[in-house]
C-alpha cells in the first residue's frame, strides 16, 4: 500500500508529513531508551512480514500486520512504522523520501486507532472468545482504515483519482479478512507461547535489570 513518489499533490504531501511528525513525536515521547531494541524488532517484523505471501485463490497477497503492531505498540507504532517504511524505500524502492510522511500516516494512524479500540480485548486475562474477536477486529480494521486513507490521499490529490481509490479499497477487502484471521491466530500463538509480548498496551522492554528474570 505504498504510494510512489511523484504521484501526490504538494498539499497532501505536506499534510501527511506534518501529521506523521506529530504522531512520531508522541510516539518518541513514550518510547524509552531501553525499549528501542525491542521496538526495533517489531518494525523489523513489520518489514519482513511484507515478504510473506498468503495464497488467495489463484493469486496471493502479502501481509501488512499494522494491526498487530498497533495492538502491541500503541503510539509507538508511529516511529516503528516510519523506520520500517524508510528502510523499505531505501532497500526496495517502495515509496520514497517525499511520500514517507503520507505512507507512514496511512499505516500508523489505523494502528493507533485499533490500539484504542481493541487492545483492551487482547490482554492476558481476556476470555478466549473476546481475545480472538478483538485480535481479528484489530487486524481487519487496521487494513481497512489504511486502504481508506490511501484512497483518500489519492482522492485529495485530484478527483480524477477517485476510480483508482475505489479499486485500492476494493482490492483490500479480501486482504482485510485474511489479515484479521492471521492476526487472530498469530495473537493466540503469542498468548500461548510468549504472553509477555501481548500484555495489553505493554511494550516488551529489554530492561537491563529484570527483577526476577529475563525481563
Amino acid at each position: 500500500m505504498h504510494i510512489s513518489e511523484g504521484v501526490l499533490s504538494p498539499g497532501v504531501l505536506i499534510a501527511g508529513a506534518g501529521l506523521t511528525a506529530a504522531g512520531v513525536a508522541v510516539g518518541l515521547r513514550r518510547l524509552e531508551n531501553e525499549e528501542i531494541p525491542s521496538v526495533g524488532i517489531l518494525s523489523a517484523a513489520f518489514f519482513v512480514a511484507s515478504l510473506v505471501h498468503v495464497p488467495v485463490g489463484p493469486s496471493s497477497v502479502h501481509l501488512i500486520l499494522n494491526g498487530l503492531l498497533g495492538l502491541i505498540l500503541g503510539w509507538k507504532a508511529f516511529p516503528a512504522i516510519l523506520v520500517g517504511l524508510a528502510l523499505q524505500a531505501l532497500l526496495f524502492q517502495f515509496g520514497g523520501i517525499t511520500t514517507l510522511g503520507v505512507n507512514t500516516l496511512n499505516m500508523a494512524l489505523p494502528a493507533v486507532v485499533c490500539h484504542y479500540l481493541f487492545s483492551w480485548g487482547v490482554g492476558i486475562g481476556a476470555r478466549r472468545l473476546v481475545f480472538i474477536l478483538s485480535a481479528f477486529a484489530g487486524g481487519c480494521c487496521a487494513v481497512f482504515l489504511s486502504s481508506m486513507l490511501v484512497g483518500f490521499s489519492l482522492y485529495l490529490t485530484g478527483e480524477a483519482f477517485l476510480p483508482v481509490a475505489k479499486v485500492v479499497v476494493a482490492a483490500h477487502l479480501p486482504v482485510m479478512v485474511i489479515e484479521g484471521g492471521l492476526t487472530a491466530v498469530c495473537a493466540l500463538f503469542l498468548r500461548q507461547v510468549k504472553p509477555e509480548l501481548l500484555e495489553g498496551a505493554y511494550v516488551p522492554k529489554l530492561s537491563s535489570q529484570p527483577q526476577n528474570g529475563s525481563g
Partner: protein, 252 residues
C-alpha cells in the same frame, strides 16, 4: 538475498560526504515532487541519469530497482487518462482518453523515475549504516536513528530466521494453498518469527551491555567536509535552485 546492499566501487559519488548526499537527494526529491513544468521535469530526469552514470550504477541493477516503482505507475496509466476531464485524444469502446489525463500521468511517470534514480544513486553509493550515522549528524532525533539501526540489524536476523522456517515447512511437504491449514501454518510462522526475534533481540542487547553499551552508538566512519564535497554541494544547490526558478517563473 533480501537486503543486498550494492554500495561498491569507488566513483566520485561514492567518496562524497554522506551528509551532502542526503541533503542533495532530499532537496532534489522535494523540488521535483512539487514541480509541474515539463522543462523542469525533463531536466530533472536528465540530471538524475547523469548522476547515476557518474556513480557508476550498473544499468541492470538500475532497471531492476526501477521495476517496483513503475508497477504503480503502469496501474495509473490504465485509469487516469480516462478519468480526467478535457480534450479527447482517443477512445477505447465507451472510454475516452483525454490529452490532460495522458499529460498528467506522463508527468507523474517522469517525476517518479527522476526521484527514484537519485534515491538509487544515494543508496548505491552509501551503506545503510553510514546513512544512519549521517542522518544523526544532520539532526534526526537520536531515538529514531537508534531505532533505524536496530531495525536494520534485526531485518537480517528475522529474514534469516524466516528463510529457515520456510525451508523447515517445505521439507515437511508444506505447499501454500487456499485453505485453513495454510493460513494457520503461516500465522504460526509469523508468530514464531516474532518470538524468536524477540528472544534474539534480548540476547543481542545483553551482549551489548556486556561490552559497555550505555545508550550511545559510536561510529568509526568520520565525516569530514572536503573541498570536493563543498564544490559538489554548491553545484547541486545551484542546479536545484535553477529548477525552482524555472518552475516558478513559468507559473508567474
Amino acid at each position: 538475498m533480501i537486503v543486498k546492499e550494492f554500495a561498491a566501487g569507488d566513483s566520485l559519488i561514492q567518496r562524497l560526504d554522506p551528509r551532502v548526499k542526503i541533503v542533495v537527494a532530499t532537496l532534489f526529491s522535494v523540488v521535483v515532487a512539487v514541480s509541474t513544468q515539463w522543462v523542469v521535469l525533463v531536466l530533472a530526469l536528465a540530471l538524475g541519469f547523469c548522476i547515476v552514470q557518474v556513480a557508476g550504477v550498473p544499468m541492470k541493477e538500475l532497471i531492476r530497482r526501477l521495476v517496483p516503482v513503475n508497477g504503480l505507475i503502469t496501474f495509473l496509466w490504465f485509469f487516469l487518462p480516462f478519468t480526467f476531464e478535457g480534450e479527447s485524444l482517443f477512445s477505447i469502446g465507451p472510454l475516452v482518453a483525454t490529452r490532460e489525463g495522458v499529460y498528467y500521468v506522463a508527468r507523474i511517470s517522469i517525476k517518479s523515475n527522476a526521484i527514484m534514480v537519485v534515491l538509487i544513486t544515494l543508496i548505491a553509493s552509501t551503506s545503510i549504516f553510514t546513512l544512519g550515522h549521517a542522518m544523526y549528524e544532520l539532526g534526526i532525533p537520536k531515538k529514531i536513528t537508534h531505532l533505524f539501526f536496530f531495525t536494520y540489524r534485526y531485518i537480517h536476523v528475522m529474514h534469516h530466521e524466516y528463510l529457515r522456517l520456510v525451508n523447515a515447512m517445505k521439507i515437511r511437504g508444506f505447499r501454500p494453498r487456499t485453505n485453513m491449514h495454510t493460513y494457520k501454518a503461516l500465522a504460526y510462522l509469523v508468530g514464531m518469527l516474532f518470538v524468536k526475534s524477540y528472544e534474539r533481540a534480548e540476547r543481542v542487547y545483553n551482549a551489548m551491555l556486556c561490552r559497555g553499551f550505555r545508550g550511545r552508538l559510536y561510529s568509526l566512519s568520520q565525516f569530514s567536509m572536503k573541498t570536493i564535497d563543498i564544490i559538489f554541494l554548491i553545484l547541486m544547490l545551484a542546479v536545484i535552485l535553477g529548477l525552482v526558478v524555472l518552475e516558478w517563473t513559468r507559473i508567474a
